[in-house]
């Protein structure tokens, strides 16, 4: 392999360099590459027969019409990277690539149902999904969609579902743990990027989950079967001979679907979900803050906003109404879930809630730490909102203000930041049971910290409250 040449500014414009997506290497049938800032998917010759049968098929049309599969345009074969190319397609661009460990319970559940619905569509037409990875699902306009057009292959009558194990590990096990043990088990997907091993899920789930036929079968007995038939050559040969009639397989997927559908979790009782109702604000202060946020957001060009500490999304909606597409991050899975349900109920497509701890954002994961990109690597907002957030990070998490504002400046050229001073009841509550070691936590300290990376474009007091709203522009 030749090393890439250094760009020569005097050289004439050359064909833009294409880069292979570092997260797309597991399936030899094809891969994703990027060129000119847009994604392409290359189909290799080994998958030519399957691809030619699928592309343009009634199944593909139906999946796309139903919003289950990402649409694409054919692309010129000359764009192909390396040898063995059969075709190149240009899939519709996804605004923001999110990962399963960032989704709310409802988002993971909807992604699971989408996967099963696609498998049922496929089986009805004599096709099947060759994989059921949660990373094959992305959120587009607030709804999940399968992004990998290469996931479908003709189903041979009698053959079991190759992706059954992957589905159970990527979707069913985490959903069961979140619904039946603790929603924070969603975090386990960060370490187990190939899905939660079923023996682990079976050990963690309470024994009463054995009374649910679906969980008994697809998790507990499934885990036992895996243990009993642990890889050795004879077992492998026997497994290759396993047979199941397609009608039975459809029944199995249907049961898996109702098992997933039956897993429910009510977002209540976690840290912040009722926070919006317990703020120290009166109506006048809330209205004043809403007006200022809207005005500040409207002063910023560009369409992408990240609302950090979005809670259930009051200000995300204000930013969205002001024309931004919003990613609404919150550390609390209950608040994010409530937000997701409200948006889904209202049919809103311009806001996506995600679970994220600003003090410990998603790292790079997987092969070479680059297979799943870190949050900061994916950051491209035009503006961030940090409302009623700074005191939580500065005091509860001991993050010095200059570091805090440094992160904001790394994320976006503009920031709308609310400063909540020490005399605010919320800050007094945070300091109630601990020693106040935050000498620099003053509005002057905030201005000084901001000055390191930003200029203060606007500074307005929030009416009938001790708080101040800043609009900061990166230097």
């Amino acid at each position: 392999m030749t090393p890439p040449r250094a760009a020569d500014p005097a050289a004439p414009a050359v064909v833009p360099e294409a880069t292979r997506d570092p997260g797309s290497f597991r399936d030899p049938s094809g891969f994703v590459f990027w060129r000119d800032g847009r994604p392409y998917r290359q189909i290799q010759s080994r998958f030519a027969t399957e691809w030619d049968a699928f592309a343009g098929s009634p199944l593909e049309r139906r999946l796309i019409e139903r919003g289950r599969l990402l649409p694409y345009e054919p692309a010129p074969l000359e764009l192909a990277q390396g040898a063995g190319a059969h075709a190149v397609i240009a899939p519709e661009r996804i605004d923001f690539v999110s990962y399963p460990y960032e989704w709310t319970f409802g988002e993971l559940k909807d992604a699971a149902l989408l996967t099963l619905d696609a498998e049922l569509d496929a089986l009805a037409d004599g096709w099947t999904l060759r994989d059921a990875s949660a990373f094959n699902v992305q959120f587009r306009d607030g709804r999940p969609v399968l992004i990998d057009s290469l996931s479908f292959e003709p189903h041979e009558e009698g053959v079991p579902w190759v992706a059954y194990r992957q589905f159970c590990e990527h979707f069913l096990a985490p959903l069961a743990l979140m619904a039946r043990v603790d929603v924070r088990f969603g975090n386990l997907l960060r370490t187990e990027i190939d899905g939660i091993p079923l023996d682990l899920a079976a050990r963690l789930l309470p024994s009463r989950t054995r009374l649910n036929f679906g969980l008994l079968s697809h998790v507990h007995l499934h885990a036992r079967s895996q243990r009993r038939h642990a890889a050795n050559e004879d077992e492998g040969v026997a497994a290759r001979g396993a047979r199941i009639a397609r009608s039975r397989l459809i029944g199995l997927i249907g049961n898996l679907r109702s098992t997933v559908k039956g897993l429910d979790w009510t977002p209540a009782g976690t840290e912040w979900s009722d926070y919006a109702d317990h703020t120290s604000y009166g109506d006048a202060a809330t209205a004043s803050k809403a007006r200022l946020v809207e005005a500040f957001v409207r002063e910023v060009a560009g369409s992408r906003a990240w609302d950090l500490g979005a809670n259930t999304g009051r200000y995300s909606r204000i930013a969205a109404d002001a024309g931004k597409r919003v990613l609404a991050f919150d550390i609390d899975p209950a608040a994010a879930e409530q937000h997701y349900r409200a948006l889904k109920g209202a049919g809103r497509t311009d806001i996506l809630p995600l679970v994220q701890d600003v003090a410990n954002p998603s790292p790079g994961l997987g092969w070479a730490g680059r297979e799943r990109r870190s949050l900061l690597e994916r950051a491209d907002p035009d503006v961030i909102l940090a409302l009623a957030l700074v005191h939580h990070l500065a005091i509860s998490r001991n993050v010095p203000l200059p570091m805090l504002l440094g992160l904001f400046a790394d994320l976006a050229p503009w920031a709308v930041v609310e400063f909540v001073p020490r005399e605010d009841p919320m800050v007094r509550r945070l300091l109630a049971a601990r020693r106040d070691v935050f000498d620099d936590y003053t509005i002057d300290g905030f201005r000084a910290a901001a000055a390191g990376r930003f200029e203060i474009a606007r500074e307005e007091p929030i009416a009938e409250s001790p708080r101040t709203l800043f609009l900061l522009r990166r230097r």
């Binding site: 597991r26 399936d27 030899p28 049938s29 080994r46 998958f47 399957e50 060759r130 994989d131 292959e153 041979e156 053959v159 079991p160 579902w161 190759v162 992706a163 059954y164 194990r165 992957q166 159970c168 009463r208 009374l211 649910n212 036929f213 679906g214 008994l216 079968s217 697809h218 007995l221 499934h222 036992r224 079967s225 895996q226 243990r227 009993r228 038939h229 642990a230 890889a231 077992e235 492998g236 026997a238 497994a239 290759r240 396993a242 047979r243 199941i244 039975r248 397989l249 029944g251 199995l252 249907g254 049961n255 679907r257 109702s258 098992t259 559908k261 039956g262």
Partner: protein, 67 residues
């Protein structure tokens, strides 16, 4: 096994599918028969063995609680 499978389907995961699917088929069949015997009861489109067994599970729980 399909030629182009690239993930490890897992021996135990392939083998167990037939067994689970058979139970599902039997339960669905008998529920259909029972539903036919109960006049005026319409079969719910979404319901499958899971809802049956989870209601069994909850009645077990209720019994345990003395409810």
């Amino acid at each position: 096994m399909p030629e182009l499978a690239y993930i490890d389907p897992g021996s135990g995961s392939l083998i167990i599918q037939g067994a689970i699917a058979s139970i599902v088929a039997v339960v669905v069949f008998f529920r259909g028969q029972i539903a036919r015997l109960i006049p005026g009861r319409r079969q719910d489109e979404e319901s499958t063995t899971t809802s049956t067994s989870s209601s069994t599970a909850s009645s077990v729980d209720d019994a345990a609680k003395g409810g």
